[in-house]
């Protein structure tokens, strides 16, 4: 692979939010995107948990990248992520019980998120500490933004509220709160997201010419 030119920090950050958004572009870790994104609050809580785990794991792997034997790197990533997820789970259960109740078992599912392991292998293993931190932050924020967007659509169209505040005053379609709608909403939002990006890039190209 050709070594790309040195990316600036803001480029790395925005890469995680737009170019390689975990939900809309990489289409990885769709389980919570479909399962618990029924309202915006859940999305925010889940996003914060994922940002914490991603940032800590990236930092850990970036710090010890010289000592990991290449043949056992996948078990090492898994162990690191599992440790941080357990720490998050215990801290949430002890100090934030309300958040813990609404997230339920999905906090423990963060261990199997593909994009966290992917980022550790693709980025954190080869880059110094600060860029890894920025990349992890970008990925986490991209995930949180995606969850909030899906949660917002599903909550508004399913319950008529946003963050608990009554906006519409009636329930348009209860279907949006059921699990099946998660697939539909994520699919359509992927279309909108990618199409907007294509149009934006086309306009940018025209401006450069």
């Amino acid at each position: 692979m050709i070594e790309s030119k040195q990316k600036s920090h803001s480029d790395i950050f925005l890469n995680g939010v737009f170019n390689e958004n975990p939900i809309f572009r990489l289409a990885l870790s769709m389980c919570p995107a479909v399962g618990i994104s029924t309202n915006v609050m859940n999305g925010i809580l889940m996003g914060i948990a994922v940002i914490f785990v991603q940032v800590c794991s990236s930092l850990t792997i970036s710090l010890i990248k010289d000592y990991i034997h290449p043949r056992i790197r996948i078990p090492t990533y898994t162990l690191t992520i599992a440790t941080w997820v357990t720490v998050t789970d215990l801290v949430l259960a002890a100090y934030f019980p309300v958040a813990y109740k609404s997230l339920g078992i999905f906090v423990r599912l963060i261990v199997v998120f593909c994009f966290i392991t992917c980022r550790l292998d693709v980025f954190a293993r080869k880059n110094p500490v600060f860029p890894s931190f920025i990349d992890a932050l970008g990925m986490g924020v991209g995930f949180m933004v995606g969850m909030m967007a899906i949660g917002g659509v599903r909550e508004l169209l399913g319950m008529g509220t946003l963050m608990g505040y009554d906006i519409l005053g009636f329930r348009p379609l209860l279907f949006f709160v059921l699990p099946a709608s998660g697939f539909f909403v994520v699919g359509f939002m992927m279309v909108i997201f990618n199409y907007t990006e294509i149009v934006y890039n086309r306009k940018k190209q025209r401006k450069l010419l």
Binding site: I68, H69, T83, L90, A93
Partner: protein, 310 residues
């Protein structure tokens, strides 16, 4: 040694070290957060109890409300079986709660009563309770935990009893909590844990099933059964009103519906007869056993003038 053995050794050492370090970090965090986690679990438990007693944010529990837990143990000593109750007692000297162990034989006669050293916080741990019992009864060959019940007292009057219970359901055991008032009429039922099928057996969590038990007297529950008929529409609207429809049923109309169905059997959930019957039988058995046991215990307390705090 050649390079492959070196590689193998490096890999083994690396993996072992990573596992040990991860375990150390997780263990440390667990120890630090264990106390707060237990406290939160107890708060959760208390919230469920207030919910089932009918208290909420708009109707807060009164100030003098006390929740007393009474634990039942099966004690074997001198080659005979006895029932041991750990009950909280009023201690005149100190402000601290004190506990006493009352040992009853299988015929309902008092065998012995001893004061045990146990703090309120430790009384929630089974291990601490066993240690306290074995300290005063060294001759006991076996101390087995049976169950527990709660008594909600207000100004030394019994407001309600709460019985956690377990019954075999369609899949695994169903755990529930039953609330009774002082005359053993059912005040509320809450399903705590279950693994029934969503949409079928899991409907036992819904109000239109749980609330059918509310208001049934002890005499009715002793002969109650499950009936495989569809739930009448007005009864369903009374048990679980639709939150999105403007339900303007007057108080008298609600009372009328309640009286019509008060002495009926439990209407089973469509497609989940076994789960409905499991919960009904569980409630029936828990109620029958509890009323018998608490009457025996109350008789012994009054005969021997034990200063029970409930």
């Amino acid at each position: 040694m050649n390079s492959t053995t070196k590689e193998i050794l490096r890999i083994t050492f690396g993996l072992t070290f990573t596992c040990l370090f991860a375990a150390f970090v997780m263990g440390a965090v667990f120890v630090i957060t264990a106390k707060a986690k237990k406290y939160n679990e107890y708060l959760n438990f208390q919230e469920k109890i207030f919910d089932i007693l009918g208290y909420s944010e708009t109707n807060p529990p009164p100030d003098g409300l006390q929740l007393n837990q009474i634990y039942r143990y099966i004690i074997e000593k001198d080659q005979a079986k006895y029932l041991g109750y750990i009950i909280p007692i009023d201690s005149q000297e100190s402000k601290q709660d004190a506990f006493e162990l009352v040992v009853i034989d299988l015929k309902g006669q008092l065998n012995t009563r001893k004061q045990i050293t146990l703090s309120t916080e430790n009384s929630r741990e089974d291990r601490e309770r066993k240690i306290a019992i074995q300290a005063v009864l060294p001759e006991a060959t076996a101390v087995i935990y049976a169950d527990t019940f709660l008594s909600a007292n207000l100004n030394s009057k019994r407001l309600a009893y709460l019985l956690p219970g377990k019954t075999p359901g369609f899949k695994t055991a169903i755990q529930f909590m039953l609330a009774l008032d002082s005359s053993y009429t059912i005040k509320g039922l809450e399903i705590l844990e279950h693994q029934e099928d969503p949409g079928l057996g899991a409907e036992i969590e819904r109000n239109y099933f749980k609330k059918q038990f509310v208001g049934k007297t002890l005499k009715r529950v002793k002969t109650i059964d499950v009936v495989k008929k569809p739930l009448p529409e007005d009864y369903r609207n009374y048990l679980e009103p639709d939150p999105w429809k403007e339900n303007s049923l007057s108080e008298s109309k609600l009372q009328e519906i309640h009286d019509t169905y008060k002495n009926n059997d439990i209407y089973a959930i469509t497609g989940a007869t076994i789960s409905s019957a499991a919960v009904t039988n569980g409630v029936k058995n828990a109620l029958k056993k509890f009323t018998y046991r608490v009457q025996v215990l109350d008789q012994i307390i009054s005969e021997n003038k034990i200063p029970a705090a409930f």
